[in-house]
């Protein structure tokens, strides 16, 4: 590569360069300065939605985004006031989440929704609390977020202990109705934020619920594991009758494949987290994907709004099952619109007060409806048990919110055509 000849250093040249350097700096600052200052207070509510649409959690963030796309239409049909969505990508990074939240508020967002990841949600919560802008968390299970005494942070999603408690309750219900109870289980969990939260809450809750099985082995694995053959081999060798899981999507697929290849047929797969019911799982594994039970926050298939959401969802996204990501993202926006209607103002403080007194019984998730306790947590949420069957998801428990019966024990993999 040839060297560029240095231009002579006449005073003119330096001044020009200095000028362009200065102009460049000014331009950079202008570009960074927020455009679109806050406009008049009337009109639609400006809701900033923060999701990890790129980076490690891109798949989940983009899944949640689907609900954001269809929400405004449904909310209008329900007679709720309009909301204007401002999208932001947290890039699965805490720094970026915080910056984006600040930027959204500077650009006039009156309410924030997000952010799936517990780390990002914590960072955004701090910004929201500081600025006095309400923040409705769609999905994040780490307990500490609502233990900080925040006045502007609300979470319409169960905490890890809540998910576990309902999981055990539902399991016992299913064991009774199907007549199959495993005596021993192997507990496998992914070693990330969610998996470890669940694993940490487990020992405290087991004795309370009198679960009928023993955990004979606990195996934790790296979320970025490329190969889970060793883990599954260990699980198989432990002699457990069933598999108790907390995993993510990729590991769910990997583990199932290993179960088939290593010829181990657990009587049941009891998953207390994402992965085993997701579209990608069902599509990739086909018939081999049937059978696992997932104990997750879910929609109530018998509620009116659920059917409305499912119909609206099926149009732009045919072939994709409605799942946790979309349900709770939608409900977060529902909360925002509902609060806006009751507060009759887009002043953040009024909105926060309105959210605190939320009582939406005509909602999608299971339970008496959306209400918040003093800490800003919806502690009335109930979790369901769903089972994969023929590429579809059947809600099998709790009884009052189900649309099918469970099939246990799980059909052995080598007998599935």
């Amino acid at each position: 590569m040839t060297r560029k000849l240095a231009l002579n250093s006449t005073p003119c040249a330096i001044t020009r360069r200095r000028f362009s350097a200065g102009a460049g700096a000014a331009g950079l600052l202008l570009a960074v300065a927020p455009f679109g200052r806050v406009r008049a207070q009337g009109g639609a509510l400006k809701v900033g939605v923060l999701l990890p649409r790129s980076g490690a959690q891109a798949a989940i963030g983009q899944d949640c985004q689907r609900a954001v796309e269809i929400a405004p239409g449904i909310l209008k049909d329900l007679g709720l006031p309009g909301i204007a969505i401002m999208n932001a990508d947290t890039e699965t990074s805490v720094d970026v989440a915080r910056s984006r939240a600040e930027k959204l508020i500077a650009d006039g967002a009156q309410l924030l929704v997000g952010a799936f990841d517990s780390g990002a949600s914590t960072a955004i919560a701090q910004v929201a609390e500081q600025k006095g802008v309400p923040f409705v968390i769609n999905i994040a299970a780490a307990p500490p977020i609502t233990e900080q005494g925040y006045k502007f942070v609300f979470r319409n999603f169960p905490t890890a202990p809540m998910i576990l408690s309902d999981a055990f309750a539902n399991q016992k219900e299913l064991f009774t109705t199907t007549g199959m109870t495993p005596k021993s289980v192997v507990f496998m969990h992914v070693n990330d934020t969610f998996g470890t939260s669940m694993a940490q809450s487990l020992p405290g809750l087991l004795p309370k619920f009198n679960v009928p099985y023993q955990i004979v082995e606990t195996i934790s694995y790296d979320p970025t594991a490329r190969d889970l053959s060793v883990e599954v081999a260990k699980a198989k060798a432990s002699g457990g009758e069933a598999l108790l899981m907390v995993s993510r999507l990729n590991d769910a697929i990997l583990i199932t494949r290993e179960l088939v290849k290593q010829r181990w047929n657990p009587k049941a797969v009891l998953s207390m987290g994402p992965g085993w019911y997701e579209d990608q799982y069902l599509k990739t594994l086909g018939k081999l994907g049937d059978g696992p039970l997932s104990f997750v926050p879910w929609y109530d298939p018998n509620k009116k709004l659920t059917k409305q959401l499912a119909t609206a969802f099926a149009k732009p996204y045919p072939g994709i099952n409605l799942n946790t990501n979309q349900v709770f993202t939608f409900e977060a926006l529902l909360i925002a619109a509902d609060a806006f209607k009751r507060a009759s103002s887009s002043d953040p403080k009024a909105l926060a007060d309105a959210i605190r007194t939320t009582n939406i019984t005509d909602n999608v998730s299971i339970g008496p409806g959306i209400q918040f306790d003093a800490k800003g947590q919806n502690d009335k949420l109930k979790n369901a048990a769903i089972q994969n069957r023929g590429g579809k998801l059947i809600t099998v428990a709790p009884g009052f919110a189900s649309d099918g019966k469970a099939e246990l024990p799980m059909q052995p993999y080598d007998k599935r055509g």
Binding site: S54, Q62, D227, V230, A233, K234, I253, K261, Q262, T284
Partner: protein, 290 residues
């Protein structure tokens, strides 16, 4: 724990390690000759995997069969990258090379995200769930096929470097840069060729990896790191070393996962790496660099 589990895990680890070794082979070739630290190695592997998936979903052709065309595409990519962008950086300090390749890696990862989306993709071959049973040993069929393919590719590569004129020329460049110039070798072209060859290895490895692992755009960095661990353990610039390194790392990780907490099994690879760096930096089969 029953005895056969150790055998099963060990065999599985060795076979997987073999395929990782092939990926690392590309890195070894590139670093051994061109002396560029390719921090975009994992991303190149990811590109190869996505190509395999696209071809499979479009043409229904088995990745093992598609290995050759995919390697060819990656060869072209590597050649162009080296000749076009990387060449001026060969004699620059490592940190410059590093940032250059990091920038390339960022571009690749996010382009893949935009084009293919974030969902994990995979290839479902007819033999995807087959396994061979020999007594108490249950071996995953896919891993066996991939392992065999790796050995064939590696053998072809060794033969190339041993017996062809170009191969010898490349080795000359690696051994003595000035000498090669003196003898009249077109070093720039040979460097580009070598980078291309390294990329072709990555292409072949990627085609095989797609049978074992699901692809996401963010898969790259883990493989880059793995590649470096293997290459340094086995010996930078030594091709058999890369394969041996792969086998060793595959085995270590598998056994560590079995004996200790699987979530900590990578720690053993890193521990091994540190030990090698301290006590035998040229790696197991490498030659001591002056």
């Amino acid at each position: 724990m029953p005895a056969e589990i150790y055998l099963n895990v060990a065999v599985s680890g060795l076979l997987t390690g073999l395929v990782y070794g092939l990926m690392a082979l590309g890195l070894s070739v590139i670093f051994g000759v061109v002396r560029v630290v390719n921090f975009a190695h994992g991303e190149m592997t990811t590109i190869a995997m996505y190509i395999a998936i696209t071809l499979f979903s479009a043409l229904r052709l088995d990745p093992l069969v598609m290995m050759v065309p995919i390697a060819a595409v990656l060869f072209a990519f590597g050649y162009a990258l080296q000749a076009g962008i990387i060449n001026p950086f060969i004699n620059r300090p490592e940190h410059s090379q590093f940032i250059l390749l990091v920038a390339i890696a960022i571009i690749i990862v996010n382009l893949l995200l935009i084009v293919f989306g974030p969902d994990a993709r995979s290839v479902q071959t007819s033999y995807a769930y087959d396994s061979f049973q020999i007594g108490a040993l249950i071996v995953d069929a896919t891993k066996v096929y991939a392992g065999v393919a790796t050995i064939l590719v590696a053998a072809a590569l060794f033969a190339f470097f041993r017996f062809t004129l170009i191969g010898k020329a490349i080795r000359a460049c690696a051994d003595n840069y000035t000498g090669a110039l003196v003898v009249g070798l077109d070093v720039k072209r040979l460097y580009a060729l070598t980078f291309g060859l390294g990329a072709a290895c990555v292409g072949a490895a990627g085609a095989m990896l797609v049978l074992l692992v699901d692809v996401t755009p963010a898969l790259g960095p883990a493989y880059t790191l793995l590649g470096f661990i293997i290459v340094i353990t086995g010996g930078l610039g030594s091709m058999p070393g890369a394969l041996i390194g792969g086998l060793l790392i595959g085995l270590t990780e598998a056994m560590a996962g079995l004996f200790f907490a699987p979530s900590a099994k990578s720690m053993f690879s890193f521990g091994l790496l540190v030990l090698v760096l301290l006590f035998r930096p040229q790696g197991i089969l490498g030659r001591r660099v002056a």
